[in-house]
Amino acid sequence: MPIDHATVRHMARLARLAVAEEELPRLAAELGRVLQLADQLAAAAADVEPMAHPHEQTLAWRADAVTETDRADALLALAPDARGGLYLVPKVIE
């Protein structure tokens, strides 16, 4: 399936990936090639149940109890910018 530049731009926007204009032709060609592979699945559109996961087990339940300890300082120490217990980002509301 051929992919046009507008589609690449839209996917990049959804994925929050900056893409330069000059990258578009190469990315469009590559995505088109990879998605060609997926087009081979058209033949497999059988009426079988889609399989999301290897095991049929239902998800495990756990007690509704606090198990996490307070690791806020250790976690905030990983942030590129944090102050006063908060993650800092550029101003969102004008």
Binding site: L35, Q40, A44, P80
Partner: protein, 483 residues
């Protein structure tokens, strides 16, 4: 140390013929002598020495288990408390986790000595280890060739005799394919057998922790330590862990081994096919009976995998936002600019490609045609195995259609690279355990025999592999070191 297995090393440690500190020194020396392979991203000798001293103290008191005092390396995808964990990405180049992955915890608890973190394809996306932000790994058998991927550093480190075993992860073949290319043994357990907690996520319904070592017997010792239920991973399976080591002596007599004709198609290199046929004949001499079988939907596996894995990756990698941890771009003008530029700067070409493909497959208007169709194909592929295992106990064939290819040979064409995974991805889609065993050589390069078992039949799989290795010595062959 290079050729001694875990059982022998454990005996030597107990008899005080060697010590954990001496084994560690030898491993560190070997790692630095083979720095040319680029197998490691981080080596932490200081921490390793402390662990070795603790192991020696325990051993002197007559304590310890099979892995106590044995040096090993972790793939740099397992979080290690206080030790940089990069996933071979610029995104996590300075990430120092504040906790240990379940696999790291379990191995540390046995007294095994982690000496560092091995190189890999970025976020485990790749089949050649050329997608690492820290440079490619070289194959110890031929420095001009790739070690395979994504656990390429772990495979090269074991093959070069640096460590007796290393951890790895396998989402589409990332343990088995590099094991095959480097002439060692690589075990991918059943999905859910090993906790994924603290293992950096790529495709959560496929990701599986495992082990690379010289011998199947070594894999049995390591899996015994890694396997088990972990409530912190909701997909971890709560069922008893078999005694893999005790089961190794089980004979191959009467074991039915399925030979799937789809694994011997036109793409299989002649030398690989010949080595694998000879290995199958060896299994037969050991008492196995070969059964011709068919996996009719095998041809769909690459297509299904390269929709499902990117779809899950695009979702999992959404967490890298430049806010909570990881790379942040300089001087972001807005929150949107912070997200998009941080991600574009820090993800390599293959990771960006898979995120875009996955986003496409999950996007409105295309979800049914791609993601849902791939999940239907996944069911067909899994059902093929269910049917096959009604007739046979194991399935065997070539791990890869070719031996290790040259660096740069496939980097220009993603589809050519993906084709290297043709025999391995179906196993992940079905969630089954499988092992790659050294099975000979083609033009001087190692060939891997893949053996696949039903879910949770690791004991049967490892026993068959061990019996094969008792009768052969391919797994003991070592590459020549450069002068």
């Amino acid at each position: 140390m290079a050729n001694r297995g875990i059982a022998q090393l454990a005996q030597d440690l107990r008899a005080q013929r060697t010590s954990a500190a001496a084994l560690l020194d030898a491993a560190l020396e070997r790692a630095s002598a083979r720095a040319d392979l680029n197998a490691f991203i981080t080596v932490d000798g200081g921490r390793a020495h402390l662990a070795a001293d603790r192991a020696d103290a325990l051993l002197r008191q007559g304590g310890g288990a099979a892995l106590t005092g044995i040096p090993f390396a972790h793939k740099d995808i397992f979080c290690t408390n206080g030790i940089r964990t990069t996933c071979a990405s610029r995104m996590l180049a300075d990430f120092v986790p504040p906790y240990d992955a379940a696999v790291a915890e379990r191995l540390a608890a046995t007294g095994a000595v982690a000496l560092g973190k091995t190189n890999m394809d970025e976020f485990a996306m790749g089949s050649s280890n050329e997608n690492s932000a820290f440079g490619p790994v070289r194959n110890p058998w031929d420095a001009a060739r790739v070690p395979g991927g994504s656990s390429g550093g772990s495979a090269a480190a074991v093959a070069a005799g640096i460590v007796p075993f290393a951890t790895g992860t396998d989402t589409g073949g990332s343990i088995r394919q590099p094991a095959a290319f480097c002439g060692i043994t690589g075990l991918k357990p059943t999905y859910g057998r090993v906790s994924r907690w603290g293992m950096i996520a790529f495709a959560s319904s496929l990701d599986c922790g495992g082990v690379l070592a010289r011998r199947a017997e070594d894999c049995a010792h390591v899996l015994a330590a890694m396997a088990g239920h972990d409530a912190r991973d909701a997909t971890s399976v709560d069922r008893p862990v078999d005694d893999y080591v005790a089961a190794l002596s089980t004979s191959l007599k009467g074991i039915r081994v399925g030979v799937a004709r789809e694994y011997f198609g036109a793409g299989v290199d002649g030398g690989v096919g010949a080595a694998v046929q000879a290995a199958l004949a060896q299994l037969e001499r050991l008492g196995a009976c070969l059964v011709d079988i068919s996996l009719p939907n095998a041809a769909l596996a690459i297509s299904a995998y390269y929709v499902i894995a990117p779809a899950e990756a695009s979702s999992n990698l959404a967490r890298y936002d430049g806010v909570r941890y990881g790379h942040r771009c300089a001087e972001p003008k807005s929150l949107e600019d912070l997200y998009t530029r941080s991600r574009a700067e820090a993800f390599g070409a293959e990771v960006r490609r898979r995120i875009l493909v996955g986003t496409y497959a999950l996007s409105a208007g295309y979800y049914d045609a791609y993601y849902l169709r791939a999940q239907r194909a996944r069911r067909l592929i899994a059902n093929d195995f269910v049917d096959a295992f009604k007739q046979v106990d194991l399935i065997a064939g070539p791990t890869t259609p070719t031996t290790a290819f040259r660096l740069g040979e496939k980097t220009g064409d993603p589809l050519a690279m993906y084709a290297a995974d043709v025999n391995t991805v179906a196993v992940n889609l079905a969630g089954l355990p499988a092992i790659s065993l050294p099975a000979g050589f083609s033009a001087g390069l190692p060939v891997g025999l893949q053996v696949i078992a039903p879910a949770f039949a690791e004991a049967r799989l490892l026993a068959a592999a061990h019996q094969f290795q008792v009768a052969t010595d391919w797994h003991l062959r070592e590459p020549q070191s450069p002068r």
